[in-house]
Symmetry: C2
Subunit: 515 residues, 2 copies
């Protein structure tokens, strides 16, 4: 047993008399006088399991009650890994304090593919820059993605309906293999608990069944360190659940999870309110990246753009952006103090059978896009910085996010010759602000006074003035985010610097403090 | 004299006793019992002029009163040109019914440059695809653009203030040469009557002086066929005028103009309300082109995106978009039933004296960007279509523009399986709608059932399904808007067509009805 790794206790016991999910088994774990009680589950074949996540190193005693009784102790050795990822302010950290900068990808039905394809996917992920995967518990029925999984999560009743009280352990055991395998590669599983794209009936189970399912899932999954809860994909596109259902699910996930993994809810159009108490961060679907700054300022929590279209060639606009645009979205999000998620959707345009095609975003397989290499390059840069990036203060587009009082205060302090200009912003309608926000943002971030980043996106300036503190000196580099080159423009720079650029799209400027 | 061309009557008379702008001279022109009275002006050197615009061919009689009296008649021959441009519905037409599709550019201080530079600009415009130029009456004081003009519009008082009652005819005569020269090239002058970028005092004249200036300008300019009134550039960035001032100016321009040329007002951030009765069309500054559809639907008038950033390499984001993006903005606007305006802002990045540099958007000169050639290509296509383009109905992004009642009606008629999806749109905040609008638009237009255009912008689909009426057959072409190639994909097509595309950005699909 080891700190930050799932500890599993396994016991032989009687077959449950009633439904397997009703079988009661509970473990109470104690260390230094602090007790934590967690539920176990019936794992089939007369086996009961209790999974526990040791948050500290040291000796734990445990006491098991219910269908099985037992007592004992174990030593959790000092951690080899970093632990669970938690939200800290507007960023993420592992439990040991190591920063976690999510660079995610999307493989919705990863767990529902053939073994060969899953093996290929795992090989791909080993070489890819991604440290988070968005994937669904339930199989997915959607264009380009119709196949049945080998196993389903529950047994079927005679009438064809799902009996959630009889989980099919083959499904769950296989699923856990994926979680473990991904964890061993340092990949977080952003686990989508519900989604609307369904032909089997999982999206339309009763709320009572939803809660039984969640309770069972938590008993099995909650002790995995590398798991995040995504209540839903596109919750608001789900015809079978009300807002009240979602709020109950949100609370249940929080209450059933003894360790409070990250919890979010992904929207179609209308954002889930990330200021709600059990929600740890925003998980947005949005194509306009400036939303990052607005959402961060509004919620004070980390902002993930978990869907901003995918690099690919599909008919649909969400599945047909260029490698340039996919890469750019990562830079935009990062520069504004947020995070972005990748997806790839290439389809052989001559295919006659699109449902059997292997499109990465749905099923995994190989990556053929141009963005992953460039996202890897960005990730290296981000991880080399002295800390996480926050948006630069005083940016221009950011003014659209100020409240009326903040704006008054800003205008009050503005130079006289600029007051009329800022006053004109006060007359903007919400419509105009939404439009301006999408077009007028400056993608500029900073790590305290230690590093400053300007991402120019499609701006083709041949010279660009940056403003650095006068109190330090900086190395100023010009980054071609597409060609992946870094060129030193100036050393010992401070104050205003007029940076020469090649006058093309996708350039960035990075200034890092000199020792 | 000729229909649709300025007719000028010139008379010798006494020097005005008071201010030249107070000199009264009026001409009443009559044809077929219809009379029109227009004011003339003192043109210096004992000369009075009355300018009249014959809207019809035929014999006009005239009677001049005031400082000079005269009577006579002239024959206006049948038009050689097409007349003034008018707004008709959401599009523009010349008076003779010929469609006018504006493809504009921007040379704010064209009229205030040296003769050599102006000659070079005229040469450039001869070969360029632009049929409208945005230019200012007053000189402009702004970064990259600081030079004094050879002449100013008014004489100066001893205290250094402008005496608007004493126009300097050298300024006005020279200005008119430009209007005429542009007209001879088929170029409309979108004349900016006021603007905030000023060091001489023209932006801060009293409102009384503003009205005297406008009155004089109208007497001189209103009979030119190729002129449009733009009340201001960036009216809302003007610290020296109130909203009431602007409304008075708007009314004065309308009332003082006997022919009611096109009249608009260009914003910085907050749009001028184009539904106001004297405003003929929207003249927007906005970087998000989907606004076109919203504004068209809201106002029922033509929508010009008169500023959406310029192809160039300046420090400023508004002056540093790529040729790709500049070209794309034209396609976006056109596909949504609107129009776009070009500008070019290249600066030698090694220059030490940016104010003396010749940046096209300010001063004219040569065009070196990549967009003009491609805008010319688009203009050819647009002019070859059987009529102006309106947005396709039933588009997806367009749903963000529906009122709550329209949305209810839409949902009511939607297929059952889509109702939940559209219902989720009803929960969107105005903020979310603004953001979605910028990202989710389908740039799709149509000319009745005669032609359909899909502009995919940055969408990299390798196949794209279009829907054509079953009642006709169409030729379907794939357009590479950057490489300027047209490839026939299908003939005799109707209904659903899955079009093969190269999977790259900036593609369009054009379907035209077969005879």
């Amino acid at each position: 047993m080891r700190q930050y790794e799932m500890a599993e206790l396994s016991f032989r016991g009687p077959e449950p008399k009633g439904a397997p999910t009703d079988a009661e088994i509970t473990g109470t774990f104690a260390k230094d006088g602090v007790e934590k009680t967690v539920p176990g589950f019936y794992a089939g074949d007369g086996t009961y399991k209790i999974r526990f996540y040791p948050e500290e190193a040291g000796t734990y005693t445990y006491k098991v009650t219910g269908e099985v009784t037992a007592e004992g102790s174990f030593i959790a050795e000092k951690a080899a890994g970093h632990g669970m990822v938690k939200a800290v302010g507007t960023h993420f950290e592992y439990e040991d304090g190591t920063p976690f900068y999510p660079f995610g990808t999307t493989i919705y039905a990863l767990a529902h593919q053939t073994k060969d394809l899953m093996a290929e996917t795992m090989e791909t992920l080993k070489k890819a820059p991604f440290n988070k995967v968005r994937m669904c518990v339930f199989p997915k029925d959607y264009r380009y993605n119709k196949n049945d999984p080998a196993f389903f999560p529950f047994a079927k009743r005679e009438d064809g309906s799902w009996d959630v009280t009889h989980p099919d352990c083959r499904f769950w055991d296989a699923f856990e293999e994926k979680i473990t395998a991904l964890g061993s590669m340092g990949i977080e599983v952003d686990l989508i608990l519900f989604h609307p794209y369904d032909r089997w009936g999982f999206a339309s189970m009763s709320q009572q069944d939803n809660l039984i399912y969640l309770s069972y899932l938590m008993k099995r999954f909650a002790a995995y360190p590398n798991i995040w809860w995504s209540l839903s994909n596109e919750y608001d596109f789900t015809p079978t659940k009300t807002l009240e259902d979602w709020e109950e699910i949100e609370k249940a996930v929080h209450d059933l999870d003894p360790y409070h993994h990250l919890e979010s809810c992904h929207n179609g159009f209308h954002y889930w309110d990330a200021t709600r108490k059990d929600i740890t961060h925003s998980s947005l679907q949005v194509k306009s990246l400036p939303v990052v700054a607005h959402e961060r300022a509004r919620t004070g929590k980390p902002v993930m753009i978990d869907e901003c279209s995918y690099e690919g060639n599909l008919n649909e606009s969400w599945g047909a952006i260029s490698g340039e645009e996919m890469t750019a979205h990562f830079w935009q999000a990062i520069a504004l103090g947020g995070y972005c998620t990748h997806g790839e959707t290439f389809l052989d345009p001559d295919t006659k059978d699109e449902d059997s095609a292997v499109v990465f975003w749905a099923k995994g397989g190989k990556l053929i896009g141009k963005s992953p290499e460039r996202i890897a390059w960005l990730r290296n840069i981000v991880e080399s910085l002295p800390g996480p990036i926050d948006p630069q203060t005083g940016g221009f587009g950011n003014l659209f996010d100020l409240s009326s009082e903040e704006m008054d205060d800003f205008i009050d302090k503005a130079p006289k010759q600029h007051k009329f200009f800022f006053n004109s912003m006060k007359r903007l309608t919400e419509y105009e602000k939404g439009i301006l926000r999408a077009g007028e943002y400056t993608y500029a971030g900073q790590v305290g006074e230690k590093a400053y980043l300007w991402y120019l996106y499609r701006q083709t300036s041949a010279r660009y003035e940056i403003l650095l503190p006068e109190t330090h000196t900086y190395k100023v580099e010009v980054l071609d985010t597409w060609e992946m080159t870094r060129t030193t423009f100036a050393e010992h720079a401070s104050g205003s610097v007029l940076v020469r650029l090649p006058g093309k799209e996708y350039m960035a400027i990075l200034a890092t403090i000199e020792a």
